[in-house]
């Protein structure tokens, strides 16, 4: 029972602390304020209207009586007042002499001093037919007639006072209803929102405890909570991909760095064990340095890929000409290709403006050219034909620019192409070649950093590597996919 009670209490406490509850309160206060304003405005206007009506009636009456007085003298006036005073629901009339003796009318008593102040006054009065206790409220006008007579004409204010009471009562009731309904609907809405937020909180807690594949629930209403949940889910997906990347990198480091490190260590041990003279030690040391240089190269490439994949290099982007990069890289590799009896051509006749990281794009292209040269058929396999490598820069479909390196070498079988882009994958025929096996992976990572992709296609015969990048950089890529 106590447990249930506390649970109940904390649930209410939670409800009270929620943003939704506070918002409800704010809305409620505002709404009550506006309702009160409307009511007051209405009451005030009604009152004004009634008062206006009374003054108008009284004014007309006085005007009429004045005319009677000037035409027929005091006798005619007394006669008219006596006649009018007995009509049902009539106005108040009182005609007195200068000294205050009543001549005609239906008023028995008034608040003191009313008759001595000409003009409009609100006063209490009693009619002749009323009993001693009753007291009424009226708006009266007092005028002085020629000859020292005082004429009072007025109208009962009961109507106005009743109106006020009605408005007041209505105000109280509607106020109570507004607050009750507001609170009830607030609690209803809050509970719904709270339920969804609680579901989100539960999921995030599960994620914090390591369940990174959990996703926030989406109600499908497309409201702001759904949008928030959707965005958080996209963020989670990205985080999960990055985590997977980190894990892959560490796995690969473990595998592909430990192997050469073991080799390095073995070589040192072997030198210690069997080397007899300085030249043997020297040879062992030299090969150790060579091996460690290769290790450093692999390590740098890995770091660069990780960095490109995490998007860190995005702040180093500028506008440059991709055609110029193609020419530059081709120029760098041309002598090497020439030495190996390959022909290296550039097909980039026009400027290709691109927003990106020039250094990384150059490096990616260099890796592709390097690969093409490395895997070109050896002179024995050529059958007299000269292998050709083409570096191309140009515009592709839909505001994309393409950097293509094509060769007519052995190519990569279609089944292996997707795998070839992964880190450290070196297809069987390339095992004999030097290199870290990271060239394609790096080119792929660079392309993805720019919001593009690396595609491998059949060049019939040979391989065609295409780096496809959005012209305006990664921001443009997001716009393109939308």
């Amino acid at each position: 029972m106590t447990v249930h009670m506390t649970a109940h209490v904390t649930a209410i406490g939670k409800l009270l602390r929620t943003t939704a509850f506070r918002l409800t309160l704010v809305y409620l206060t505002l709404f009550a304020f506006f309702a009160a304003f409307v009511l007051v405005y209405f009451a005030w206007n009604t009152r004004r209207l009634i008062t206006e009506q009374i003054t108008e009636t009284v004014d007309t009456e006085i005007q009429g009586l004045r005319e009677l007085y000037s035409q027929g003298g005091i006798r005619r006036l007394v006669f008219a007042i006596d006649e009018r005073a007995v009509r049902p629901g009539s106005n108040l009339y009182l005609l007195t002499t200068l000294t205050g003796e009543g001549l005609a009318g239906n008023v028995d008593s008034l608040s003191p001093g009313v008759l001595d102040t000409p003009g409009w006054t609100e006063t209490f009065y009693r009619r002749f037919e009323d009993n001693e206790q009753s007291q009424h409220h009226a708006l009266v006008q007092v005028v002085q007639l020629a000859g020292g007579f005082h004429l009072l004409v007025g109208r009962d204010l009961e109507e106005r006072d009743r109106m006020r009471a009605i408005v007041l009562a209505a105000g109280q009731w509607s106020f109570a209803i507004v607050i009750l309904l507001g609170l009830a609907s607030g609690v209803f809405v809050m509970r719904r929102v709270l339920k969804r937020v609680d579901a989100m909180t539960d999921t995030t807690q599960a994620i914090m405890q390591g369940g990174l594949s959990e996703r926030l629930p989406i109600a499908g209403t497309g409201d702001e909570l759904d949008r928030l949940a959707g965005n958080i889910n996209i963020m989670l997906e990205r985080i999960e991909a990055l985590m997977r990347g980190v894990k892959e990198v560490s796995d690969n480091i473990a595998h592909d760095l430990k192997t050469p490190l073991t080799r390095l260590r073995n070589r040192c041990e072997e030198a210690l064990r069997i080397a007899e003279d300085e030249s043997q030690y020297r040879a062992a040391l030299e090969s150790t340095i060579e091996e460690s240089d290769a290790l450093i190269g692999t390590f740098n490439a890995l770091l660069l890929i990780a960095r490109a994949e995490s998007g860190q290099a995005r702040d180093q982007m500028s506008d440059f000409d991709a055609a110029e990069v193609a020419h530059g890289i081709a120029e760098l590799y041309e002598p090497l290709a020439d030495d190996k009896g390959l022909s290296l051509k550039v097909d980039a006749p026009m400027a290709v403006p691109l927003h990106g990281n020039r250094e990384l794009v150059s490096q990616a292209l260099a890796n592709l050219v390097d690969n093409a040269i490395k895997y070109a058929p050896s002179p024995a396999q050529r059958n007299g034909a000269q292998p050709e490598i083409t570096v191309k820069a140009g515009a592709g479909e839909g505001d994309r620019i393409l950097l293509t390196v094509s060769d007519n070498g052995p190519g990569i079988p279609e089944a292996d192409r997707a795998r070839a882009v992964e880190r450290f994958v070196r297809l069987e025929q390339s095992r004999s070649q030097p290199g870290s096996g990271l060239g394609l992976s790096l080119a792929n990572a660079v392309a993805r950093l720019h919001g593009g992709e690396l595609k491998l296609e059949d060049n019939r015969p040979g391989l065609r590597c295409i780096i496809s990048l959005p012209r305006g950089g990664p921001a443009a890529a997001i716009a393109l996919t939308k």
Binding site: I289, D293, I296, G297, N300, L303, L304, R307, A313, D315, Q316, G328, E331, L332, Y333, P335, L336, D338, D339, N357, E359, L360, S362, Q363, A366, N367, D370, I373, K374, P434, G435, S436, G439
Partner: protein, 239 residues
């Protein structure tokens, strides 16, 4: 390796006074010893503040500054020196080898940037270039032996014979001649002649050098463009 040292020494006309600001004691001592072997004197500072005090006080040819230092980091140290108009060339050593870190280092007032791990021959070559750059004026015509390069008319002549070079070959030779007698590494060439700061998997520079060599040295008794094993290349008059 010894061969490298002695050849560097022969052609280095002056011994340098260096300041190494590095908190890794082992690495710093290794450098001091290695510099001493090639005839240079190196002082040591273990943290940024000590390094700044020494750099402000002493007359050094080149500063070797680690990027991450206790008390005062390398970039701030160099920035402070530059603000006080001390223009001693500074080479930044850093475990952060990425392009943007390099750019940050150079922007802060560093003159060169070398990512760790580095080879001593690379460091030595860069230090010597930095030290020599100071006070050297840009000449219009470079001469090494009977080889002459005119930077204005873009003419290259060896022993009265005009040599026809491609634009890139001209820039390569220009760089080698400006640093005649100094060892120039492959990375230095790639950075300064091609403006690339990455490591091409295959050694493309060697092929460019051998092409240039065939144009300027072929048919002459004394080759000028020599390979320094384990380090790089040097252009000098051979005896």
């Amino acid at each position: 390796m010894n061969g490298t040292r002695s050849s560097g020494c022969q052609n280095g006309p002056f011994d340098m006074r260096l300041l190494i600001i590095e908190d890794d004691r082992d690495a710093a001592e290794y450098l001091t010893k290695a510099f001493r072997e090639v005839g240079h004197v190196a002082d040591l500072a273990g943290d940024g503040e000590e390094g700044l005090a020494l750099a402000l006080d002493g007359q050094y040819d080149v500063l070797i500054v680690d990027r991450m230092l206790p008390k005062l980091d390398g970039l701030t140290l160099i920035g402070t020196l530059r603000k006080k108009n001390i223009e001693t060339p500074a080479l930044i050593l850093s475990a952060l080898g990425q392009v943007d870190d390099r750019v940050k280092g150079l922007r802060a007032g560093g003159d060169d940037y070398l990512p760790k791990p580095y080879s001593f021959s690379e460091l030595l070559a860069r230090i010597e270039v930095l030290a020599r750059r100071r006070g050297s004026r840009e000449e219009t015509v470079y001469r090494v032996g009977d080889l002459e390069l005119d930077r204005l008319s873009h003419r290259v002549v060896r022993a009265d014979q005009e040599i026809d070079l491609q634009p890139r070959e001209f820039r390569l030779l220009e760089y080698l001649m400006r640093h005649a007698g100094q060892v120039v590494t492959r990375t230095m060439l790639l950075e300064n002649v091609w403006d690339y700061h990455f490591d091409p998997q295959t050694n493309v520079i060697d092929v460019h050098i051998s092409r240039l060599r065939s144009k300027i040295d072929k048919g002459f008794a004394h080759p000028l463009l020599q390979t320094v094993r384990g380090a790089g290349y040097v252009l000098r008059e051979s005896k």
